[in-house]
Amino acid sequence: MRTARAMLAALALLCAAAMPALAVRPDEMLADPALEARARAISAELRCMVCQNQSIDDSDADLAHDLRVLVRERLTAGDTDAQAIDFIVARYGEFVLLKPRFSARNALLWGTPLLILLAGGVFLVLRGRGGGGKAAPLTGEERERLKDILGE
């Protein structure tokens, strides 16, 4: 956290140093804009596995370049988005997905937000219904302040 950013930046640069180029290169891009847009959307969900937390769409590393080309090849060959992603996962494992799949192992990951929201909501409703007993009597200080306010 010293430099929350800086560490991230340094790591990003490590990736960059391996292959100093910009992420998506003009020569990679597909001629068909609809297909290219799909390729970009898929790329944003795939991890550059030699970098820290960068998608292949953002990364300059060699591996990211290879994966981007691979995704575009699959799409050009007529794969659907899901098929193209499955193809990459079959080769590189689930680690490549920046958005983990809904599976038993990831149940807690996906379930936590809903679980906490529901539990908190239920707790609040129950507490609200119970009424919570009587209001606490005034403390000495509060009584004094009340006197003040009433102008004594």
Binding site: A10, A17, P20, K99, I149
Partner: protein, 661 residues
């Protein structure tokens, strides 16, 4: 010699912190005023000693004393003076020293400013602060000593990581730490309340401004870090959901919740137990952030296992403070008296909802950040949790929260009238709908989500304005009267409105960049032009240039507007830092209105061209501008006399103000 003096001062500071942690605590238990009185001088001296140690390290850096390992590893005689200075906290060791410096500074502030606190409370708070000081000073001295020497001394240093040689390093870490460490005060107050088994008015009056202060700094630290990454990393992103970012974002979310629950506690003496728990959790998340970033666990669980000294030490600190605090909470919380009652529809109720959503959001970020670590540690498998996950879970949690924000300040305490408030917000709602429709019609007919985002941002800003208008008596009084009343409103009312409006501006910037950004990747040769977002860039060529400790190739682009009018130039560069042989990309940024033209360079191609990536980012500056407005709101609220640190209004006057309000 200076360096040894610094080392010695730090060891003494450890001793002083031990005294500060133990003696006042015993004194408070025994009701012994003299023992309790030890707290203040101990806290002040500890701060003075850590400041001395910090000054010694700074002197070594500024004079490029390469016989000190820390200076040799992170400095260079040719490094510009500003970075010699900021490089003090550019390394692990130096940044931990800054952490402890700020911790003891806050301790000293409590010692000086807390004279009007009950002595027992003050002594216990300072003792808890002292314990945190002991833990981290010991951590520095045993695992991360910045004062270690080298013999023989090298002639030249290895230079600071080039990414850190930026003005961002001067601002971002100190602000972030002031925020992180500032929450230690709220934590210390919470622990003191649990130890004493009681919370009184003085407690709430103190916790609120300290939390607010820490929150203002943390907001600034995160925003500054985001802008730094935006211009430095060269691909124009402003938030990456990186674990390191999440480490600072979780305390912010919890701290924002704490800020709001502390309001309820101060005004209505309700939510006491929850506020105490939240204060503990907020600082726990700060500690967790320190652990995540400092232990190396983020790169991989295995990297952590190969050199675990630092990680295990921080993990022990973490376990002691978080575990201890939670055990204390479990034991003592039931003895804290519950406070005032309120109906579900009331200002308290709205703030409870705020807390529910913010806590859930913090928990979501926490689970998303830790899940890959847990999966790897348990099964050896590696999974990734990145931006797509967080966008999918975090955004749906934020939307309902942002929708209820304008209701909060308008609802009455204790029992509110939702229907009446909704009526008063009708104009703001109409305005938001109008903005949504305008965005849909004029900008992009297919982008319904973007249009709704604009509407949500407008809702927040108009809601904040409605609050101010209603509190000045509009629409029931003449304009002149309203203007006079507006000028006389308490600063905390302005603070709330500004903070909420700032949030709206940030949302506006984020939605605008996400939905409307224009992007262009091209290979350019000198004389080529490229068009992005209505601006035309003409590439003039590359010039080599020699910097103090780097060489660079600088590209100049001439910018022209839609009608061909000249708008000046924008420069981008590729740099090579000679000592570390590390390349960096220096993006070129020009601000037009609230948007920015962002140009970044890629590889040279064979035909003598260069790959150029250019973006037009509409309203992007609002992302950080909104954060500045939020900070201004926090600062204004802090300047409210009723809340000023350690200076409550005199009883009579306060009473009159209350009566008038």
């Amino acid at each position: 010699m200076t360096v040894e003096l610094g080392h010695f001062a730090l060891v003494l500071a450890l001793a002083l912190s031990l005294v500060q942690a133990a003696v006042p605590l015993v004194g408070a238990r025994m009701e012994h005023p003299r023992l309790m009185a030890v707290a203040e001088p101990a806290a002040l001296t500890a701060f003075a000693l850590v400041a001395l140690a910090f000054a010694a390290l700074t002197a070594a850096h500024v004079t490029s004393d390469f016989s000190v390992v820390n200076v040799w590893e992170n400095s260079h005689s040719l490094k510009p003076m500003l970075y010699k200075f900021t490089g003090v906290w550019g390394s692990h060791e130096g940044s931990m020293l800054l952490w402890v410096l700020i911790l003891t500074l806050f301790g000293a502030l409590v010692a000086v400013g807390g004279r009007n606190l009950p002595q027992r409370l003050r002594a216990t708070v300072l003792a808890v602060q002292g314990m945190i000081g002991v833990a981290f000073t010991l951590f520095i001295l045993t695992t991360s000593n910045p004062f270690a020497r080298l013999d023989p001394a090298p002639i030249e240093g290895r230079d600071l990581n080039p990414v850190l040689q930026d003005i961002g390093l001067a601002v971002h870490p100190p602000l972030l730490y002031l925020g992180y460490v500032g929450f230690s005060i709220s934590f210390a107050f919470a622990i003191a309340a649990l130890i004493d088994g009681r919370i009184d008015a003085a407690w709430a009056r103190w916790v609120r401004p300290w939390t607010l202060l820490a929150w203002v700094f943390l907001t600034g630290g995160i925003a500054m870090g985001s802008y730094w990454a935006y211009y430095e990393l060269g691909w124009g992103g402003f938030w990456f959901w990186d674990p390191v970012e999440n480490a600072s974002f979780m305390p912010w979310l919890a701290g924002t919740a704490l800020l709001h629950s502390a309001i309820v506690m101060e005004k209505r003496a309700a939510l006491k137990i929850w506020t105490v728990l939240l204060a503990i959790l907020t600082f726990s998340l700060s500690l967790l952030g320190t652990f995540l970033v400092r232990s190396g666990v983020l790169t991989s669980v295995h990297a952590f296992a190969t050199d675990p000294t630092r990680g295990v030490f921080i993990l022990a600190i973490l376990t002691f403070f978080i575990g201890g605090a939670l055990v204390l909470f479990a034991l003592r919380a039931p003895s804290l008296a519950a406070g005032g009652l309120f109906q579900p529809v009331s200002r308290e109720g709205a703030l409870v909802l705020n807390n529910l959503f913010l806590s859930t959001a913090a928990a979501t970020v926490l689970v998303g950040t830790l899940y890959p670590l847990v999966v790897e540690a348990v099964g050896g498998d590696r999974i990734s949790v990145g931006a797509p996950f967080f966008n999918l879970t975090f955004v749906p949690l934020m939307v309902p929260l942002l929708l209820i924000v304008p209701f909060g300040p308008l609802l009455a305490w204790k029992r509110g009238d939702l229907y009446a408030v909704a009526q008063r917000l009708l104009a703001a709602f109409g305005g938001a709908i109008a903005v949504t429709l305008l965005a849909l019609v004029f900008i992009d007919r297919s982008a319904a989500f973007a249009a709704l985002g604009f509407g949500l941002a407008a809702w927040l800003v108009f809601g904040a304005l409605t609050d101010l208008a209603l509190k000045s008596g509009l629409p029931g009084v003449p304009l002149a009267t309203a203007a006079r009343r507006l000028a006389g409103l308490p600063r905390s009312v302005y603070g709330t409105a500004l903070a909420h409006a700032g949030l709206g501006l940030t949302v506006l910037g984020i939605v605008s960049v996400t939905a409307l950004e224009a992007e262009r990747f091209v290979t350019m040769k000198p004389g080529d032009t490229a068009e992005v977002g209505g601006y035309t860039l003409r590439f003039e060529g590359l010039q080599p240039r020699q910097g103090p400790n780097f060489v660079e190739d600088r590209a100049t682009f001439v910018v022209a507007g839609r009608g061909g009018e000249a708008l000046g130039t924008v420069m981008a560069a590729k740099r090579m830092y000679t000592t570390r042989q590390m390349p960096t990309t220096e993006s070129g940024i020009r601000t037009f209105g609230l948007g920015q033209l962002y140009v970044s360079l890629g590889d040279l191609t064979e035909g003598g061209g260069i790959v150029v990536r250019a973006w037009w980012k509409p309203l992007v500056t609002l992302i950080w501008g909104g954060a500045l407005v939020m900070m201004a709101g926090g600062a204004l609220s802090l300047a409210d006399r009723r809340l000023r640190v350690g200076a409550p209004a005199p009883r009579r006057k306060a009473a009159r103000q209350e009566a008038a309000a």
